[in-house]
């Protein structure tokens, strides 16, 4: 096949789509009024924000007044967790439940709170990467103030039983937060039906710009501010509104949720074809549940090779993907998600994550299927670890 450019890292970020950009343009040019100002171009901005809020609320089954715009997923996670902890501590509730494989925006926030005197229970996940609701139920104590479980995992794409967890939390009268940054647009979300109290989302995973997101806060939950200052966002989140990005987020979420079954059908077919073909490579394994999985997520480990060199080799062929190897995780250990599902370090180092999105075609899948096996073979040919695997040595012995 001729060389092509294949962007297959849609869980890392996405391209701003043309309709989103078009919706934003007026607010980056002549519509520059401050939404707090009283003259007409200010009020135009305020109206645009209100309309965007209605759109985002509708996409989640929420009320308009329950949506607050933020700078993205990380801020929403920090706000939900830190501020829920903060108000609860005053009532003597200082226990938080989360899972071992959350995004760092949740995990590091919880670790910070541990240093501040909170107790955090990290619920394990099974080898498929699923959280068991009964584990959450058992962990809830009278002093538990918050349960935070991600909707869909960003690395292995597993979709958690959010509705069941929500039901348990509501029964036990514990606030339930979910990081839905990856789930929005991939899975139908209804905050009422799912008993979700707090939900984080981010624009750049759904073809809106980076640096915009939202927090859904159920009516009746009145978290204190994370960002103090002006009266924006009904005095809940200070800072002159990023009108263009807010409008972009609304357009993006409207489009992303317009036909979720259609997207699932199109992408999961492509996903399953790539998985089936890549699993033909010897000593490979699929990470995460094959079915309860985001429609665009492929995560496969190839023994005997290291993820970063796999990514660089793919890049030389024009393919953008990611990995959970230590070299790409920015630490000395491979991805905490892959370790959480029980992978040995050496296997986690050899992981490849391909995340398909709206822009990908069957030709992209063909190209990936053609290139990956060749690259794996080339890297294995030069790997002293692969020699040992072929000799059946126990490479993971400590």
């Amino acid at each position: 096949m001729e060389k092509r450019f294949v962007y297959a890292d849609n869980s890392a970020t996405t391209q701003i789509s043309k309709p989103v950009l078009d919706a934003m343009m007026p607010w980056l040019t002549e519509g520059y009024g401050n939404a707090s100002s009283i003259y007409s171009i200010g009020m135009d901005s305020a109206r645009a924000i209100l309309k965007a809020r209605e759109t985002v609320a509708k996409a989640l089954g929420a009320k308009t007044s329950e949506i607050y715009f933020t700078s993205g997923g990380s801020e929403s996670d920090n706000w939900a967790i830190k501020c829920a902890a903060d108000v609860s501590a005053k009532k003597g509730k200082k226990h938080i439940i989360t899972t071992v494989f959350e995004h760092h925006a949740v995990l590091h926030t919880c670790q910070y709170l541990e240093k501040e005197g909170f107790e955090v229970t990290y619920i394990p996940v099974d080898e498929m990467g699923l959280v068991h609701p009964e584990d959450i139920k058992k962990a809830i104590r009278p002093d538990t103030c918050l349960v935070s479980v991600m909707f869909a995992n960003n690395e292995i794409g597993t979709i958690q039983p959010i509705e069941e967890i929500g039901k348990i939390c509501r029964e036990k009268k514990v606030w339930f937060h979910t990081d839905a940054v990856q789930a929005v647009g991939n899975v139908p979300i209804d905050v009422v039906k799912m008993n979700i109290d707090l939900l984080s989302l981010s624009g750049h995973k759904i073809h809106a710009p980076k640096g915009i997101g939202a927090l859904y806060m159920r009516t009746g939950i009145n978290l204190p501010n994370l960002i103090h200052g002006g009266a924006q966002e009904r005095s809940k989140r200070a800072g002159t509104e990023n009108v263009a990005s807010i409008v972009g987020l609304a357009k993006a979420i409207e489009m992303a949720t317009a036909d979720i079954p259609g997207k699932q059908q199109r992408l999961s077919k492509m996903r399953d074809r790539i998985i089936a073909e890549l699993l033909k490579i010897p000593e490979s394994r699929l990470n995460g549940d094959p079915v309860r999985r985001m429609c665009g997520n492929v995560n496969i480990s190839f023994r005997g090779i290291e993820g970063e060199s796999l990514l660089l080799s793919l890049d030389l062929e024009g393919i953008c993907a990611s990995s959970g190897s230590a070299c790409t995780s920015g630490s000395l250990d491979p991805s905490h998600v892959l370790l959480a599902i029980g992978l040995p370090h050496s296997t986690a180092h050899g992981s490849l994550r391909i995340t398909l999105g709206d822009g990908n075609t069957e030709e992209d899948a063909d190209y990936i299927i053609e290139k990956v096996p060749k690259i794996v073979e080339k890297l294995r040919a030069m790997s002293p670890l692969w020699e040992r695997i072929l000799r059946d040595e126990d490479i993971d012995a400590e």
Partner: protein, 142 residues
């Protein structure tokens, strides 16, 4: 993180990849858990490194430093190889990101390990000449 053009060039076209079946010295450093292993093969004739080959399991920097290290010692006297430092490898590659510096250390050690093996096969105690080669199972990211 940014790799220099030199690093990418050596990654894309690594020099001296492979094995030497009748090598005079073979050394291996690193481990699977940390995500990098380098294996060096040396052919030594009259004190000259006439051939060198490597195999590496690891990141882009690990491949590039192995490749560059083999280039720097091929055709050179053993004494020169003994003096090769990780710093020289890094400089020859126009620098490495700080988080990747340990790869260059690994390349230096792989050569030392192969030279130690060479001396041992000659019936010479390598320690006074090569120095101590750290244990393979050292902590990740040395």
């Amino acid at each position: 993180m940014i790799y220099s053009e030199k690093v990418m060039e050596h990654f894309a076209n690594p020099r001296n990849v492979g094995e030497i079946p009748d090598a005079d010295g073979v050394g291996e450093v690193g481990n699977a858990k940390c995500g990098d292993i380098m294996k060096m093969y040396l052919k030594i004739d009259n004190g000259i490194i006439t051939d060198v080959k490597f195999k590496t399991f690891g990141c882009g920097a690990a491949v590039a430093t192995s490749s560059m290290a083999t280039e720097l010692i091929k055709g050179k006297p053993v004494e020169d190889a003994l003096k090769l430092t990780n710093k020289a490898v890094v400089e020859a590659l126009d620098g490495l990101p700080t988080v990747k510096l340990h790869c260059s250390v690994l390349a230096e050690q792989a050569i030392k390990a192969a030279l130690s093996d060479y001396y041992r096969k000659q019936g010479v105690d390598p320690e006074p000449i090569v120095g101590a080669v750290p244990d393979v199972e050292t902590a990740c990211g040395i």
